[in-house]
C-alpha cells in the first residue's frame, strides 16, 4: 500500500486514541479539580496540563484555561477537539482506504465538536460524548475494515498511543495531594470494576499501578497495549521471523514490553516515574522508527504530543 495512506491510517489510530484517553483523564479529574478552592485549582490545573505534555503559557492558567487547552482548542492536536479534527483530516486523505462508515463516523464527530458548551457542566457532557464517539470509531474500525495491512497500521497507531495514554493516566496520581489517587487512575482507564474483580484481598496504590502497567489481560494496560503493537508490527513485516534484530520499532516495543512484563520489584511506586518516562519515550521512539521504515517522510508530519 502507499506509504502516504499507511501514514494517515497510523495517525488516525493515534489521534482517536489520544482523544479518547484525554477525555477519560479530563472526565475523572475534572470532578476532583472542581472541588478545590481556586488557588489549589490553579496549581493542579497546571500540573495536569504538564501530564498531558504541554506547559502553561502564563501563571494565571486555571480551570477555564485547562478546559480550553485540553478539550476545546481546535488549533492544537494536543486537545480532544484538535485530535479529532486531525483524525478526520487524515481520514479525508485516505478516504478510499477506510470504510465509508468509519469515514462518516469521524466526519460526524468532527461536525459535532462545536455543539458543546465550554463550561464545567458542558465539559462533562463533552467528555461523555467523545467517549461514545471514539468507542464507535473503534468498533467500526474492527468490524468494517478487512484486517489487512491498512487495518494493521491503524491498530499499530492505536496501541502505541494507548500505552502512552495509560502512562499519562498513571502519572496523574502525582497531581493530587489528597484523596484516593489510585481509584482515579483506575477510573480514567475504565478499569475500576475489572481491577476490583481481580484482587480479592486489600488493594492500594501499588496494586492499581501494577494492574495498569503489567496486567496481561486488561486491554488498556501498558503491557497489553505494547503486545498489540508488537503483534501488528510482526504481521506487517513477516520477512524476519527468526533471529535477533528485526527492525528498530519491534526492538523498541519488544524490549519495553518484556522489561515491564517480567519486571519484579518491591517498591513499584518509587520506580513509577521512571517507568512512565521510559514508556513514553519508547512510544515516541517506536513511532519515529515506524515513520522511518514505512512512511519515510517523518519530517513533514508534525506530531506535537511528545514534549513531556
Amino acid at each position: 500500500m502507499l506509504s502516504r495512506i499507511a501514514e494517515s491510517l497510523f495517525w488516525i489510530g493515534r489521534y482517536v486514541e489520544r482523544a479518547d484517553g484525554t477525555a477519560r483523564i479530563l472526565d475523572v479529574h475534572l470532578e476532583r479539580l472542581n472541588h478545590l478552592p481556586p488557588e489549589d485549582q490553579r496549581s493542579v490545573a497546571q500540573d495536569l496540563l504538564g501530564v498531558m505534555g504541554s506547559r502553561p503559557d502564563h501563571d494565571e492558567f486555571g480551570l477555564a484555561e485547562l478546559l480550553h487547552s485540553i478539550a476545546f482548542d481546535r488549533s492544537h492536536a494536543t486537545s480532544i477537539a484538535g485530535s479529532l479534527g486531525a483524525a478526520r483530516e487524515n481520514a479525508r486523505r485516505a478516504r478510499e482506504t477506510v470504510s465509508s462508515s468509519l469515514w462518516e463516523c469521524l466526519n460526524t464527530t468532527y461536525y459535532g465538536l462545536s455543539q458543546h458548551r465550554k463550561d464545567v457542566v458542558g465539559t462533562y457532557r463533552f467528555c461523555h460524548w467523545v467517549l461514545e464517539r471514539t468507542a464507535m470509531v473503534g468498533g467500526l474500525t474492527d468490524t468494517t475494515m478487512s484486517h489487512d495491512e491498512s487495518w494493521l497500521f491503524l491498530v499499530l497507531g492505536r496501541s502505541l498511543e494507548r500505552a502512552d495514554m495509560t502512562a499519562r493516566m498513571l502519572s496523574t496520581r502525582e497531581v493530587h495531594t489528597a484523596g484516593m489517587s489510585w481509584v482515579n487512575m483506575l477510573r480514567c482507564a475504565g478499569a475500576y470494576e475489572s481491577f476490583l474483580r481481580t484482587r480479592r484481598a486489600a488493594f492500594d496504590d501499588r496494586h492499581a499501578a501494577e494492574f495498569l502497567l503489567m496486567d496481561r489481560l486488561f486491554p488498556r494496560s501498558i503491557v497489553y497495549a505494547l503486545r498489540d503493537a508488537d503483534e501488528a508490527l510482526a504481521k506487517l513485516d513477516p520477512s524476519d521471523t527468526r533471529l535477533g534484530h528485526i527492525n528498530d520499532a519491534r526492538r523498541i516495543v519488544g524490549q519495553a514490553r518484556t522489561f515491564l512484563e517480567f519486571h519484579r520489584t518491591d517498591d513499584l511506586m518509587v520506580e513509577l516515574p521512571e517507568h512512565m518516562e521510559r514508556v513514553q519515550r519508547a512510544v515516541a521512539q517506536a513511532s519515529d522508527a515506524i515513520s522511518r521504515k514505512y512512511f519515510n517522510r517523518a519530517d513533514e508530519q508534525a506530531w506535537v504530543g511528545e514534549v513531556s
Partner: protein, 530 residues
C-alpha cells in the same frame, strides 16, 4: 471562607424561589435552608449563591440530564414489576460539621446499644430479667427467631450494617424515627447521587469542602472480611440477593461490583458439613462471609419458610457451627420492632450507661391501658404504624384519614394492641425541591448508614435524604412517590486530609534506575527530537 455581607448577596427571591416563603410558612415545619425571615442559614449560603446564578432553563436542563444519567446507568428501583429511576432532586441537603458530629455520635451509640441488646436477647436475656424491656414484648416480636438462640455468630458482630432513620421536628431537633438493622437499603443512591451531583451542580462543590462518600464500599468490605469465621486467612465474601426482581436489585449489583465480590442467589450456594460453598466454573468454592440481602424468613427453608426458593437450606446451622458469617445476623429484626424501639433509650442507658444522644419520637405503647385510651380518643391527630412494617406499609396518618378508615383502624388496634404503635404527627423538616418551574418546600428524612466491624462503628458522612415530592406529603418512601437528595456534610476545614495516604516523596535524583541502559543504535535521532 468568609460569607459576603448580606446586602451584597444575590437575592434569594429570584424567580425560582418565588412564593417559597408563603409555602414554607404554610407547612409550619422547620426549613433546612431558610430561617423564618427567608435568609439562608449559614450552612446553605454557598449553595444559595450557586443556585442564584442559574435560571430556570439551566436548572431544568440539568435536572433532565441527571434523570437521563440515572436511567442510562440503571439506577432504578423496581416498583410493581417496573424499573423506575429513583428521582434525584437538584437541591442537596446540607448538614453542618457540628450538627453532623452529634448525629454521628448518636448513630454510633445506638448501633452499639442494639448490638449489645441483640447479643443479650439471644443469650442470657438479662435485659428482661432486670426489667428493662418486658420479656413478653421480646418473645412476641415476629422477628424474634428462636432458631438462632444461644450462639454467638462467627466474627462476633450482629449489626454489621445499619440505617438509623432520623427526622427533624418542628423545633429543628433531630429525633430517631426508626432503626433498620435487618437489611437497610438505599446506600447505593447515596453513592450514585453524589456522582450525579458532582456533574449536575459543579458550582456548589468548588465553594466548600464536602466530605466524600466513596469510601463506603471499601469500609463495608473490610468490615465483612474482619468478621469472617476464625482461622480463615483470605475470606471470600459474597452478596446474597433474592434476584433480579427484588426492588433493591440495583443496589445489590452495585455493592457487589464496587467490592469486587460475587453476587450470588440462593441456588448458587450449597451447604455441606456446616460449611457454605458456591458453584463456580472451577468447582465448589468455600464462602466465608455472606452479606445477606434477603429477609430472614426466606433465608433457610430448613428453619423458616419451607416454601422459599430464594435461600439455601442449611445456612442457619452453618452459622450456628461458626462455619460462615451472615451479615447482618439472623434474628436482628427483634431490634427493629417498633415497640422495642420505644424502649431503646432505656436500652442505651442499660448497656452503655450513657444518656441517648439523639432522642426518640414520643411513642404510645398500645398495650398500656392509659396510652391506649388516649390513642383511641385522639386517633384523628396521631400517626399509627404497624410494629413490623417497613417502606411505609400499613401506616395511617390520622389527620389525612377518613372517619371510616379510622373506625376500621380502631377495631384493629383493640384486637391486636401488640401489633401497633402511635406517634404524634411530626412536621418533618423541609428543603427546597424543584417542582414544575420553581422550588417548593418538601418534607425530608435522613437515613445515615453505619458499618460495624466489631471494633469500631463508622458512620458514612451524610446518608440518604429521602424527600416527599408531593406538596404537604409526609411519606418519603420510594414506593409511595418519594425521591431523594444528595446529602452534604460540610468538613470542618478544607485542610482536613480526606484520606491519609503515605506519599512517596523520594525525588527522581535519589532513585537508582531500574531500566536497562538504552542502546545507542539509531534511535539517538529520535531522542534528539524530544
Amino acid at each position: 471562607m468568609h460569607a459576603p455581607p448580606i446586602d451584597e448577596r444575590l437575592s434569594p427571591m429570584s424567580d425560582l424561589f418565588e412564593d417559597y416563603a408563603v409555602a414554607a410558612a404554610r407547612t409550619g415545619a422547620y426549613d433546612e435552608m431558610f430561617a423564618p425571615d427567608q435568609v439562608a442559614r449559614p450552612t446553605y449560603r454557598q449553595l444559595e449563591e450557586a443556585l442564584a446564578s442559574l435560571d430556570l432553563a439551566d436548572v431544568s436542563s440539568r435536572a433532565d440530564s441527571m434523570a437521563r444519567t440515572f436511567l442510562d446507568r440503571g439506577v432504578t428501583f423496581d416498583y410493581a414489576g417496573e424499573e423506575r429511576p429513583f428521582p434525584l432532586d437538584i437541591v442537596p441537603r446540607v448538614i453542618s460539621a457540628p450538627e453532623w458530629n452529634v448525629l454521628e455520635r448518636g448513630v454510633a451509640q445506638r448501633v452499639r446499644a442494639l448490638e449489645a441488646f441483640l447479643n443479650d436477647v439471644y443469650g442470657r436475656m438479662s435485659v428482661a430479667a432486670d426489667g428493662v424491656v418486658p420479656r413478653r414484648i421480646i418473645t412476641s416480636s415476629k422477628h424474634f427467631h428462636r432458631q438462632v438462640h444461644g450462639f454467638e455468630p462467627a466474627g462476633g458482630v450482629r449489626v454489621h450494617i445499619s440505617g438509623i432513620d432520623v427526622v427533624r421536628d418542628g423545633e429543628g431537633t433531630f429525633r430517631v424515627l426508626e432503626d433498620n438493622v435487618r437489611v437497610p437499603s438505599g446506600v447505593s443512591y447515596v453513592l450514585e447521587n453524589r456522582r450525579a451531583m458532582a456533574k449536575g451542580l459543579p458550582e456548589a462543590f468548588s465553594q466548600q469542602p464536602i466530605r466524600p462518600v466513596e469510601e463506603y464500599p471499601r469500609r463495608l468490605l473490610s468490615a465483612l472480611r474482619r468478621t469472617a469465621p476464625a482461622g480463615v486467612d483470605e475470606p471470600t465474601v459474597v452478596v446474597l440477593t433474592p434476584g433480579v426482581f427484588n426492588s433493591a436489585y440495583f443496589e445489590h449489583t452495585l455493592l457487589a461490583g464496587l467490592m469486587g465480590v460475587e453476587l450470588v442467589e440462593g441456588r448458587d450456594l450449597i451447604c455441606r458439613g456446616n460449611r457454605v460453598y458456591m458453584r463456580t466454573t472451577a468447582g465448589e468454592q468455600r464462602v466465608d462471609v455472606i452479606y445477606k440481602r434477603i429477609d430472614d424468613d426466606f433465608l433457610d427453608p430448613l428453619q423458616f419458610r419451607s416454601d422459599s426458593m430464594l435461600g439455601c437450606p442449611g445456612l442457619v446451622n452453618a452459622a450456628r457451627a461458626g462455619g460462615v458469617t451472615i451479615a447482618n445476623a439472623v434474628g436482628n429484626g427483634v431490634a427493629d420492632d417498633k415497640l422495642v424501639y420505644s424502649y431503646v433509650p432505656d436500652i442505651i442507658r442499660y448497656y452503655l450507661g450513657e444518656e441517648p444522644i439523639i432522642a426518640n419520637v414520643d411513642t404510645f405503647r398500645l398495650e398500656e391501658d392509659g396510652a391506649r385510651e388516649e390513642v383511641l380518643d385522639r386517633l384523628d391527630e396521631l400517626v399509627v404504624k404497624p410494629v413490623d412494617g417497613s417502606g411505609g406499609k400499613g401506616l395511617v396518618i390520622g389527620p389525612d384519614a377518613s372517619p371510616e378508615e379510622l373506625d376500621a383502624l380502631r377495631q384493629r388496634l383493640v384486637e391486636d394492641p401488640r401489633g401497633w404503635i402511635a406517634q404524634p404527627v411530626l412536621q418533618l423538616s423541609t428543603v427546597p425541591t424543584l417542582s414544575g418551574n420553581r422550588f417548593g418546600p418538601r418534607h425530608v428524612d435522613l437515613r445515615p448508614f453505619a458499618v460495624n466491624d466489631g471494633d469500631d462503628v463508622w458512620v458514612l458522612p451524610g446518608g440518604l435524604t429521602r424527600v416527599a415530592l408531593r406538596e404537604g406529603s409526609l411519606i418519603v418512601n420510594s414506593s409511595q412517590g418519594g425521591g431523594s437528595k444528595d446529602t452534604w456534610v460540610l468538613a470542618e476545614s478544607r485542610n482536613m486530609p480526606i484520606e491519609a495516604e503515605p506519599r512517596h516523596s523520594i525525588s527522581i535524583r535519589e532513585r537508582t534506575s531500574v531500566w536497562p541502559v538504552e542502546s545507542s543504535w539509531r534511535d539517538r535521532q529520535a531522542e534528539q527530537q524530544q
